[in-house]
């Protein structure tokens, strides 16, 4: 007998299954090919791209916290051109869908990147709007609904692929921001990005991260992420890619019940290279145990 149906559609693109690699935690995919058959992953959101190559922040860039990690990579990446010419063709040998996670300092930069991605094999563009917007005095785009509207609208006008807007949790009301993205034409929402946090080395009295602060991810933030996904699911009509601390199939089920059409695995990839396949397998097992033959029977299935 066949297993349950796992394929989901996001803005007209079909993913074989709802498991997505969260941006920044799975490189450009190829790094993991010793461990993972990339054909088995629904989609891969690649490391955050910028217009020019970026060195990123000085080390240390990571610190372990209780059931979480703080990172301050600072968007180290080889630049979007290198991605298009070098990494994308390698990744495109696999069935997995490719999400280009783009990061701009200005709206113009986002648009330039979207234009460069035209006529490439990229399946989705993911707008990461958590990074500080230099021209707005360092406040992150993603915390201001107006800015979210403007950047989404602008990129939507010049991008060919379906547009995913990735929300930051460092806001007062996630619904407001999600609503702004949908209004501006986003085809899907992904959330959450990391929470801002820090750690101090009490022997040196210095911050552990050279960048002082970092982004908190992992199981520690799962309850917050789940709440926000649920909130956004009640607000928008576009599909949601939920993430934040997903380590197991059971975690994935929670996010799907809360309203996510797909789920992304981030920190778990740092813990185990096969994390996504494990999550997928456990998700299938859960569905079989509960006689669920289509993932759509779970999406948004929370009972209040």
């Amino acid at each position: 007998m066949n297993g349950p149906n796992l394929s989901v559609e996001i803005a007209g693109v079909t993913l074989d299954n709802p498991i997505v690699a969260a941006s920044g935690t799975f490189g450009f995919g190829i790094e993991y090919s010793d461990y993972v058959d990339l054909n088995k992953v629904g989609a891969i959101s690649v490391k955050g791209l910028t217009l020019e190559p970026r060195k990123g922040n000085p080390p240390s860039r990571i610190v372990e916290t209780p059931s979480g990690i703080l990172n301050s990579v600072g968007l180290q990446n080889p630049g979007i051109d290198h991605f298009i010419n070098h990494d994308l063709p390698m990744l495109k040998q696999y069935r997995t869908k490719v999400i280009a996670n783009i990061n701009g300092k200005t709206i113009h930069e986002y648009c330039q990147m979207a234009l460069k991605l035209q006529n490439t094999e990229v399946d989705f563009i993911e707008l990461n709007i958590s990074c500080p917007n230099v021209s707005q005095g360092g406040v992150s785009f993603g915390t201001d609904p107006d800015m979210v509207y403007r950047v989404t609208k602008a990129v939507k006008c010049c991008c060919q692929q379906p547009l995913i807007v990735k929300l930051t949790p460092n806001v007062r009301d996630i619904k407001e921001v999600a609503h702004a993205a949908e209004e501006a034409g986003a085809d899907a929402i992904s959330l959450i990005n990391t929470l801002v946090g820090m750690a101090i080395d009490i022997n040196t009295r210095k911050p552990v991260l050279a960048n002082v602060t970092g982004g908190l991810s992992g199981p520690a933030i799962k309850p917050v992420a789940l709440y926000m996904v649920w909130q956004v699911a009640q607000t928008v009509n576009i599909p949601i890619i939920g993430m934040g601390g997903i380590m197991t199939g059971e975690d994935a089920v929670e996010f799907i019940l809360a309203g996510a059409t797909a789920v992304a695995v981030g920190t778990a990839n740092l813990v185990s290279p096969t994390a996504m396949l494990d999550v997928l397998e456990e998700l299938i097992k859960y569905m079989e145990n509960h006689d669920i033959d289509d993932i759509h029977q779970l999406i948004g299935g929370l009972v209040l």
């Binding site: 920044g24 935690t25 799975f26 490189g27 790094e31 993991y32 010793d34 461990y35 490391k47 060195k55 990123g56 922040n57 000085p58 080390p59 240390s60 860039r61 990571i62 610190v63 372990e64 209780p66 059931s67 979480g68 990690i69 990172n71 990579v73 180290q76 990446n77 050279a210 992992g218 199981p219 920190t267 990839n269 740092l270 813990v271 185990s272 290279p273 096969t274």
Partner: protein, 264 residues
């Protein structure tokens, strides 16, 4: 090829103050590891500790399919490891990871310079290249922290020891002893591992005397596979360097390419 390996613990003993040696059954790694490569260990039981811990391979026994790791207890993860008993549970490892030391065919003599737990991976180098003429320079804080000196003596032509307090070997930094011999003996290749302060001096010495030198770097790691970009170190030449990945580009680099100024 990197693999994920579930490894029974064969032995786990204290070999010096705060320092433990763990022997694991891991035939694949025993057969495929190069000196300087490491395994990435999932800390068992306490699921609040998410990240794996990178530990270099210290020795192998291909016949028995075992590897040795030598580690210092510095925090929660290593403390937990130090309490594990043989056969109590199996460790989840990734490995062998990283690029190890490279010794070209034409090299006939080798100098190893290690400090503290940096001595550990050099023992595998001594083991692998024991047919060469090896001189080892091993520095420790004091006598109680020294380990595996007899092993080095068996594998090397000559072994120099120093401790910070003179409780074993000469008193002072091992790089002081190195410098005393380097001007006359001019080795063909130095392999170094140890604290960053030592590596900085090693880089200077090797440049001054124009001796090729490979050093192994440490940085906090995530994935260990090049996927998360957290294990960065500045590599290149002054004013033209990039952050490379310790996990896949390293941990061993040509010392001339390591830009320590960019280290915090």
């Amino acid at each position: 090829m990197k693999k994920r390996i579930i490894s029974p613990i064969i032995q786990n003993i204290k070999i010096a103050h705060g320092t433990y040696k763990m022997t694991l059954f891991a035939p694949y790694i025993a057969s495929n590891v190069t000196p300087g490569q490491f395994v990435h260990i999932k800390i068992p039981r306490d699921s609040s500790l998410l990240l794996r811990r990178p530990i270099s391979v210290n020795g192998v026994d291909k016949n028995n399919g075992t590897i040795d790791l030598v580690y210092r207890v510095v925090g929660k993860g290593t403390s937990l490891l130090s309490k594990l008993k043989p056969n109590e549970l199996d460790l989840d490892l990734l490995g062998p990871l990283g690029n190890g030391y490279k010794v070209e065919e034409n090299i006939k003599s080798l100098w190893l310079v290690g400090g503290g737990c940096g001595v550990a991976p050099l023992k595998l180098a001594a083991q692998k290249w024991s047919n060469l003429d090896i001189t080892a320079f091993l520095g420790f804080k004091n006598k109680s922290e020294a380990y595996q000196i007899d092993d080095f003596k068996n594998l090397c032509s000559q072994v120099f020891i120093s401790t910070d307090d003179g409780s074993l070997g000469e008193k002072g930094f091992i790089t002081h002893i190195l410098i005393k011999h380097i001007s006359e003996l001019r080795p063909k290749l130095i392999l170094g591992c140890g604290p960053i302060s030592m590596l900085k001096i090693l880089k200077q010495i090797s440049e001054r005397y124009d001796v090729p030198c490979q050093i192994s770097l440490e940085e906090r790691m995530g994935c260990g596979m090049g996927g998360c970009f957290v294990c960065s170190c500045a590599i290149g030449i002054k004013d033209s360097w990039d952050y490379k990945k310790v996990c896949t580009d390293g941990p061993v680099f040509d010392s001339r390419e390591v830009i320590f100024d960019e280290w915090p």
